[in-house]
Symmetry: C2
Subunit: 367 residues, 2 copies
């Protein structure tokens, strides 16, 4: 997948670019690409993010940050990253002095998101931070404040917002294509393998909810366009399972939104789930799988008919779309559609979910 | 559908019957059929139950009870019920004197279930009562006590327990066909039309939960074979909708079972739902629709494959199976698999669901 990436990323494409914002009077620069430093070279960074700079119009990979010299060497060579643009964590703050780096993409364990996002902002760099944004509301607020103070953008890696089927589902749900939405179900989970930082609470901040359940939560929020006012959650974790010594396994949560929509959601580390359904008064929009890297399937039921809805392959996949969105926002001075406040909104609900499960009561989220 | 019913029901089939219990040493009488009085001639009784005596081996329709003389006349003629076997509610207790009536099938509005079940028991008749069993735990307990005192059987109309796909789903789920069950989702609902007794709380005892959500609850219980220990529910009802002046619209509820299984369930009077899914560590069993009168669809996902599971048409449909089950229990002296205690178990959880939604807290159901 990464073959040819270097030429495509770094080569002079030369030609003028067809730009989303062109007609608005706030065009992006026609030749400049935003330079990203990827911070953390785990599997998501190396397998999903880095290969997809090849499909970007406005983004390029210019620097790497890792605590493992062998990874810096391997990926540095693979992506043609100069030795001067390979950083250890001890060197991290020196990114300030590298004008090729416009933005960082934080792909570290969750508990490090806040620290490195804030240090990046303090180094004058824009920030893309993987979800969950951090491990607490307090951290999210500090990240937003730091980026505001530094005048840098802050965006959270909600890739599904750049994926055509999810974009269509949002449009259809909010337009009442199957009647006004009454209920949403959303399920995400997978049987987790032992031996990962995700199972170590000091690094992850939590279990399935932080890692995969957040997709159910975020979907419920983006499909409604509303913020929940009431949360109830029940956790089920076998603490004798060595995987779950410090983090939760399953957590089911219900959300009530101001319009009356209810969402019934699942998060699991011991069973496979990937889907959501929007149920309106006249039918339903089904997405299963809903948030994989590729292969979304949409089915619409309405008026007694059940039909698949197939979209043409997108010009850019969701990863490239996400990377380029921050780049365009930087170039055009716009606000990301999934700015820090979006990550904060999820984190407020996640904290309420954990509180509801722990205190065995509903938690109100009225402002 | 009812064409030919009379001949089939009342005609002398003559031939000896192949009987389920024959090998057990407690055979049913080879020629006797249990005589039912149907109490309440609404659409469920007249469209679903009464035509299905035609498919029964051990049950026959022998009497009708209704407050509407025109219905007694119409259905009495259609099913060949003698005028002496047609009763008004004022006459109800006279069923005691009719030896043709072995059992009654109570298909009245929910709030009348307890009274008529108890009066039937006091008249010496066995009782089949439609679900929900009643409108409170107290009523359910009184019904059980009355039937116990009278020495009559009490069975609740959980028809899905006699439907082949549901029976298979129970078998597969409990046998761990897709690994030990970790989560269950169950959704039932329909957009209700105004002007029904179901929307009048004094008659119904509650809204969607009593009427249709009970299918989600009962499925979660029969698929696990366990009783929930913790319940959490959130209600969403637009009280300005004329349909929902006295009863709830939507209610989502989560159940935690002793083994750690969680069930995430939906009940709705404003959107269409009919399905459940059993998610194990190795795959899932999907039923959608799960509990229609006809047309169940089962899909099993396991080992990367998604395959439909198709069963041959049953010898008896679920309605005839249900009617004959009580008949066989009467003839053989057995206990129904869905006795009064089953209706009581659902009602205990329904009361906990309502309490959780009203008091905005989790409700413990530990014994």
């Amino acid at each position: 997948m990464a073959a040819g990436s270097r030429r495509e990323i770094l080569g002079g494409l030369g030609a003028s670019l067809a730009l989303a914002g062109l007609g608005s009077g706030r065009a992006v620069g026609a030749t400049r690409k935003i330079g990203y430093a990827v911070v953390g070279l785990g599997s998501y960074a190396t397998r999903q993010i880095m290969p997809n700079f090849a499909g970007c119009e406005h983004s390029r990979l210019v620097a790497l940050v890792s605590g493992t010299p062998a990874k810096l060497e391997q990926y540095g060579e693979q992506y043609g990253i100069a030795k001067t643009h390979r950083y250890s964590y001890a060197d991290f703050d020196r990114i300030r002095d590298n004008p090729d780096i416009d933005a960082v993409y934080i792909v570290l364990p969750n508990s490090l998101h806040a620290e490195y996002s804030i240090r990046a902002a303090q180094a004058g760099k824009h920030v893309m931070c993987e979800k969950p944004m951090a491990t607490s509301v307090v951290e999210c607020e500090a990240m937003i404040a730091a980026c505001r103070k530094a005048g840098t953008k802050l965006m959270i890696g909600y890739r599904s917002r750049f994926e055509p089927y999810n974009k269509l589902a949002i449009e259809l749900a909010r337009a009442g294509h199957v009647g006004p939405t009454r209920l949403i179900t959303a399920e995400h989970g997978f049987p987790i393998q032992p031996g990962q930082w995700r199972l170590d609470k000091p690094l992850s901040g939590g279990g399935s909810m932080m890692d995969i359940g957040i997709y159910s939560l975020n979907a419920a929020r983006y499909l409604t366009g509303e913020e929940p006012v009431e949360v109830s959650a029940i956790e089920s974790t076998d603490r004798s399972d060595p995987r779950f010594r410090t983090v939760e396994d399953r957590i089911t949560f219900a959300l009530r939104f101001p319009s009356g929509i209810e969402a019934n959601c699942i998060s699991s580390y011991s069973s496979a789930h990937n889907g959501y359904r929007v149920i309106g008064t006249e039918g339903s929009i089904d997405m299963e799988p809903a948030t994989p890297y590729v292969g979304q399937v949409m089915t619409i039921r309405k008026g007694g008919r059940t039909e698949p809805r197939t979209l043409p392959a997108p010009r850019k996949n969701q990863f490239a779309g996400q990377l380029d969105h921050l780049a365009e926002c930087i170039l055009n001075g716009n606000r990301p559609i999934v700015a820090g406040e979006e990550g904060l909104a999820d984190m407020r609900v996640i904290e309420a979910i954990y509180r509801s499960a722990a205190e065995r009561r509903h938690v109100s989220l009225r402002a």
